[in-house]
Symmetry: C2
Subunit: 376 residues, 2 copies
Amino acid sequence: MAKRIYGSTPKQDGFRMPGEFEPQEHIFMIWPERPDNWRQGAKPAQKAFTEVAIAIAKHTPVTMLVNNSQYANCRARLPEHIRVVEMSSDDSWCRDCGPTFVINDKGEIRGVDWIFNAWGGLVDGLYFPWANDDAMAQKICDLQGIDSYRTDADSCPAGLDFILEGGSIHVDGEGTLITTEMCLLNPDAGRNVPNLDKEQIEMMLKEYLNLEKIIWIKDGIDPYETNGHIDDVACYIRPGEVACIWTEDPNHPFYEAAQAAYKTLSEATDAKGRKLKVYKMCMTKEPCYLKDAWSIDTATGAIPREEGEISIASYMNFLITNDAIILPQYGDENDALAVQQAQEMFPGYVIEPVMTTEVAYGGGNIHCITQQQPKV
Amino acid sequence: MAKRIYGSTPKQDGFRMPGEFEPQEHIFMIWPERPDNWRQGAKPAQKAFTEVAIAIAKHTPVTMLVNNSQYANCRARLPEHIRVVEMSSDDSWCRDCGPTFVINDKGEIRGVDWIFNAWGGLVDGLYFPWANDDAMAQKICDLQGIDSYRTDADSCPAGLDFILEGGSIHVDGEGTLITTEMCLLNPDAGRNVPNLDKEQIEMMLKEYLNLEKIIWIKDGIDPYETNGHIDDVACYIRPGEVACIWTEDPNHPFYEAAQAAYKTLSEATDAKGRKLKVYKMCMTKEPCYLKDAWSIDTATGAIPREEGEISIASYMNFLITNDAIILPQYGDENDALAVQQAQEMFPGYVIEPVMTTEVAYGGGNIHCITQQQPKV
């Protein structure tokens, strides 16, 4: 059974989004392919995604979703224990176009299928069309036999259309969410503002993820592509404990955003009234600049990539998956420090560092290209 | 895990193809779409496939595989308890392009991924290209996490390429197979002859299905499209017992083929030395002629369909699935007799008659559009 649920919400039905640190059943990824986003025909990206998938699969089963055109290549490149399933996509950011899963106390799971518009639709989106990406959440739910909610006017009790990407939120699984104003409340970001006001946006988040409190961080570090997704800035590592990017170098391009986010989190209390413990996660010593932009296709409807433009290379964009942390590495002086800090935040976990500069060149990192199905 | 197995065969590894009457886990179907094979944009065919899927799903879970272009429509047309999974196809004959599953005594299952060339390749095939169809068996195995054998020169211990469609064979699960010379030994049918001789073809069948004996029926009733697939003519209903088409009307277009097949089966012994008990299955009183051929697209690479050409409407083309028989009906005077005869062959089974003239217009019927995954 994989039915659409109309006229109710996860909160009304007793479902909540668990924290990423809760037990996971499965990780979904999407095979990268588009030559107007990835360098050199996406071949280096495919290599990096393969390494990420292999690292994850040591801890949690992985399904790689792939366009028909790349099926045979993807199947040949990935080891046999990684499941490959054909599914049409426009690009490869499963965190953002995949479903957000919610669970209840009876061992049931459902999906939330947010409207996806490629990070801003015709206003501020990164490519056109995005219909395949928007259809993926339902297809993944159907594949897994999981019922789903769609956050559109037809399905939602409030009669609202609501656009969201999974990378713009992090939860503690106990009623609190952290996100950024730069993404969710930005009138120029092509999502819900001005159709919805802040109160309606909070209401939709609370209903679909089962929350009591939202902690608003002002800015992310990626104003142009994701419009400041939280998953480059901070995340929950346990209830009451968060990690946040940190630098003491005032010349670092993300210095101000990092300082401000750290301050906001340090002063915040969560839905249960707890003050948060905030761990510091370093940033790369040297900013990451796009190289070999010539090898990225020019295409109508995709934003052009320019030589030397800044790539968002954040150690924060890791994935927590069961007993492991899949952690980006960039060949930077601070790579080892990031591993050390991750180990301090997650004692007893296996830290799996994977070189993913190529994924950063494409606009995200390990958290952006993965989506977890929790265990029930 | 869904790995390719090289250098051995199911027989060598202790796997056998079970009879269709053995317990089943799942049925796969493919959503029809191509307007150059199906009437009126395939809409009536989609309706018929939907009714077949609903009838099967009362007894065995069904997955409908669908091209991306028809995903939303297919999902909307099928009830929620039928799983819909995107998978690219060229047409919709899962019996012929899907995997043949083999099982062992330890509760393990594997797939046989035959080379598929659209019923004759560039010599006698029904459309071009067929690469999506040929890729489906591996994709289905990967989807289900099932290891597979490919019958090509790279994988096969004998170093042979071997082409086969699932509709050209029926087995008793105890070492015997029935098939037709018209399909498997025909030098003009674009399959294995003349690259392989009869002995090699028998060897490949025996190795990949774990057989001791092959019973050869001379002709099928569909010389042009499938080149005489057995599944329009006869099938195993239990070990030692078969059903065979039958008519006493010498003017019926299939009279001679039916008489000859019945005689061959009546005189045959199986791998265990048993004489076969042969049940008679009636044919339609009136042959089925294609109507409204104008509504089928003309296309390069597909054979043209002409008004009034004969369609192969055989009651024999039923599916056995757990406790049910999914039985074609054509609006013919003999529909009720076919139901009665099926019930006599299968006492204690539920007979599910479904009107499928539209599927016959497209070139097959219920057995042709389904493929079972046995239970282990």
